[in-house]
């Protein structure tokens, strides 16, 4: 287990380093001068040059790269070109929106999906299974942005129960924050739950066909007993894999939902930073997200070992 961990951490560092190189090179190739974007069409050449100098864009490429990697190690990520605040502060303020939202959506999605998956699997080919699978089919088919708009029209415009969007801010208190998160959480969670319930169902059905289930049944364990005691744990591996992927998606890929609810999250920050050529924000965010995905995969790997003792291996496990 220890060797496994050391190996994993080493790979992790190497992956991150390669990622920094790729991100840096890609952003170098990206056309567009951040100074020109900031100063617009009436700026003169000397003004542009003054700004480029101020932003450190006139230094050689390799100096900028090493400087950046060093800054990643110290955590001092520099100052955003456009917002003129430390990048770390900017990213942090966005994470306090995106991360809780991802957690809430993931929790809701799991709370819906796992029970539904179990119900469907244990009622295989019965009306209940059909019902759950129809829900899941609809959930997969509905685009989440459309669902989000539907939620806004019903709960914000018609009934005026919840704000149509925006983020109240943590200093406004927990209730306004939860109010601003409620609709986005539902909009994000339901399509994910639809997928997850399907995965749970098919994983369970797969396991229920296994020999050891038949053995358990032959030994007199009830249907419910085999399901809960023997099948579920074995079916969790694909479920956890999908959940890992979904969580990565929820952290970074919620840009459309963030737009519909105009939430100041990571997705919108990255989109905005790219279009404004705020390269220092883009590269740090991309690395952060790459790091997050790698970390989530790492955690998922560890969870495999927790679920399935056979995967622990090693002498000192």
């Amino acid at each position: 287990m220890r060797i496994f961990l050391v190996k994993r951490v080493f790979t992790l560092i190497l992956t991150l380093l390669v990622a920094t190189l790729v991100v840096f090179v890609v952003l170098e190739i990206l056309p567009g001068d951040p100074a020109a974007v900031m100063l617009g069409v009436n700026a003169e050449a000397e003004t542009l040059n003054a700004l480029r100098e101020e932003m450190g864009l006139n230094r050689p490429v390799w100096v900028r790269y090493t400087h950046w990697v060093a800054s990643l190690l110290t955590g001092n990520l520099g100052i955003s070109y456009t917002y003129d605040v430390p990048v770390s502060e900017l990213i942090l303020s966005r994470i306090t929106v995106s991360f809780p939202l991802a957690i809430l959506a993931m929790t809701l999605s799991t709370l819906i999906a796992i029970p539904l998956g179990i119900i469907a699997a244990s009622n295989h080919n019965k009306p209940m299974d059909f019902l759950v699978m129809s829900f899941s089919q609809i959930g997969i088919a509905i685009p989440n942005f459309w669902f989000a708009m539907l939620l806004t029209i019903v709960f914000s415009v018609t009934f005026r129960l919840l704000p149509a969007g925006g983020f109240a801010g943590w200093d406004a208190g927990i209730i306004p924050v939860l109010k601003s998160f409620l609709l986005p959480t539902i909009a994000l969670a339901l399509p994910q739950a639809a997928i997850l319930s399907r995965v749970t169902r098919s994983a369970l059905l797969e396991v229920l066909k296994e020999d050891f289930i038949r053995t358990a049944r032959a030994k007199g364990v009830t249907n419910q007993g085999t399901l809960w005691k023997h099948a579920l744990r074995n079916a969790l591996i694909p479920v956890v894999t999908i959940m890992g992927l979904q969580f990565s998606f929820l952290l970074a890929g919620t840009i459309i939902i963030e737009n519909v609810f105009y939430l100041p999250g990571i997705g919108r920050l990255i989109f905005q930073a790219i279009s404004q050529r705020d390269l220092i924000v883009v590269k740090n965010l991309v690395i952060l997200l790459a790091g997050a995905v790698i970390m989530i995969n790492f955690v998922v790997d560890l969870l495999y070992a927790v679920i399935d003792p056979r995967l622990r291996g090693g002498s000192d496990a």
């Binding site: 020109a36 900031m38 009436n42 003054a50 806004t152 969007g165 983020f167 801010g169 105009y262 100041p264």
Partner: protein, 496 residues
């Protein structure tokens, strides 16, 4: 048990009442104004983005002069001024008793600092050209500033009313991007990045205090989300609503008022005057005759917009109506193209930046020009790419852009500008304009300038961008037009 129940009920009731009370109170003296683009930072002296001025100008920051809602020059931090006989020396008498929001007092040194910083060598001012005529800025006493110009500059007082010419304090200037400190009727309160900028009334304001106690600018980039936010009552209004297609929905809703005004945005089919067939006047004339402005306004802007025949705002008193000089006439366009040596037309490229006026308008323009045989390849570009390829490298044939700076006909005198229009005649006109101070004489020259670029068909002149205001019918005092890039909230208030 019942005690706990009562306690919980009490708490819930208090919360509900507190929430309702705050929303009722809020409706009276605070305003939530929506905006599409978030300002990149809040210092108008260090960026071109209109969104910066639209938040802070006239609200947080002020200049020596200010531009009012009709585009007229009014005194601001300069109480009054005198101009010397030779029109080269301006003596500004400054307001007394003015405090910056951090408590520092406003004096002549601040004016000297601000203007010298804007024109200085390390200046990152996006409109540095406005300060070019200044030779020196000196303080005569604590509340008198003398500005000496190289040459008489007719538009000088107007230029000093731009957001780029605001007066800042040396001590706080470096922090203005994230925490702006000005002298205006509103104080910066907080900026939740990506969500809102909050301003509160400056109770120590030197002039007429603002009527609103608090103003919040909410950032909503998505037009569909903007509609929901308005319908749900989260937002009280948009000074300029992002989606003209939704305006009819607001028009039919008695809660809202739709106010169509004018902006300074001349939307033009910018033409590279040094490239390919477009070098020839006859080709550019053919393009002008092939443009059906009404179809473009109807198709791209849902009917909102005023046709223009030159690069000048139709609401300005010096505007000359030149639409009829190049009427929509396909036969004539074809004939001109044949005379230019392109009887079968030619191929070209049109690069379109992201705004819908450009993307939608571009498709229509391309189909209109195809009728006379000009086959355009449509290339959508991002702003950053547009600035790089089109604006800087002039790698384009045609593009569509709205030039939103007020009174910007002077760009046609810049031969290094992306139109690549080099006309000594026009440059001479602009020099003459700069040296003329008398209003009538200036309008005369501006008229000649408009006629010249129209006759030479420098660009395809399409329409003046409309300002689609939508706000709660009980709001008063929001600007109908935008003669400068600003949302001046000083006179906004609610009625019952």
């Amino acid at each position: 048990m019942s005690k706990i129940k009562t306690f919980v009920t009490l708490i819930v009731l208090t919360l509900v009442m507190a929430m309702n009370a705050s929303s009722v109170m809020a409706a009276k003296n605070s305003l939530n104004l929506g905006m599409v683009l978030e300002p990149t930072h809040l210092d108008p002296t260090a960026g071109a983005a209109a969104s910066i001025d639209e938040v802070v100008y006239a609200n947080i920051f002020e200049g020596l002069t200010r531009i009012d809602k009709n585009g007229a020059v009014k005194p601001a931090l300069a109480k009054s001024w005198t101009v010397s006989e030779d029109q080269k020396t301006y003596t500004f008498n400054l307001q007394k008793g003015v405090l910056f929001h951090d408590g520092a007092s406003f004096e002549a040194d601040d004016v000297v600092f601000s203007l010298n910083r804007a024109r200085g060598e390390n200046s990152v001012n996006a409109q540095k050209v406005l300060f070019k005529p200044i030779q020196s800025v000196e303080s005569k006493d604590s509340h008198t500033v003398v500005v000496t110009l190289n040459q008489p500059t007719g538009g000088f007082l107007f230029n000093m009313g731009w957001g780029d010419a605001i007066i800042v304090d040396e001590a706080s200037a470096g922090k203005n991007k994230s925490h702006p400190i000005g002298t205006g009727p509103f104080k910066f309160s907080k900026w939740v990045k990506g969500d809102r900028v909050v301003m509160v009334r400056n109770d120590a304001y030197w002039g007429t205090p603002a009527k609103l106690k608090m103003a919040t600018i909410k950032i909503i980039p998505d037009p569909a989300a903007a509609v929901s936010a308005m319908m749900a009552g989260d937002i009280d209004g948009f000074a300029n609503f992002p989606a003209p297609e939704s305006l009819s929905q607001f028009k039919s809703d008695p809660r809202f008022k739709v106010v169509i005004g004018s902006t300074e945005g001349e939307t033009i089919l910018s033409t590279n005057n040094q490239r390919g067939p477009f070098k020839k006047l006859k080709v550019r004339q053919a393009v002008a005759h092939a443009l059906d402005r009404k179809a473009i306004i109807d198709g791209a802007m849902f009917g909102y917009g005023t046709p223009i025949g030159t690069h000048f705002a139709p609401h300005h008193p010096a505007y000359v109506d030149l639409i009829s000089t190049h009427p929509y006439d396909l036969a004539k366009a074809k004939q001109l193209l044949t005379e230019a040596g392109y009887p079968d037309g030619f191929k070209g490229v049109i690069k379109l930046p992201p705004p819908s006026y450009a993307r939608r308008g571009g498709e229509i323009v391309a189909s209109q020009l195809r009728k006379i045989g000009i086959d355009l390849e449509i290339i959508p570009v991002e702003w950053a790419q547009w600035l790089d390829q089109v604006f800087k490298k002039r790698d384009y044939d045609l593009t569509i852009v709205s030039h939103t700076e007020p009174m910007d006909i002077g760009i046609y005198a810049r031969n290094d500008y992306y139109f690549a229009y080099d006309s000594p005649k026009f440059q001479a006109l602009m020099q003459k304009l700069a040296a003329t101070v008398d209003t009538d004489a200036r309008y005369e020259i501006l008229g000649d300038a408009q006629r010249l670029i129209s006759a030479e068909c420098v660009n395809g002149f399409m329409f003046q961008l409309a300002k689609h205001g939508v706000w709660n019918k009980n709001i008063r005092g929001l600007w109908e037009n935008s003669p400068v890039q600003a949302n001046d909230l000083t006179e906004v208030y609610w009625v019952d």
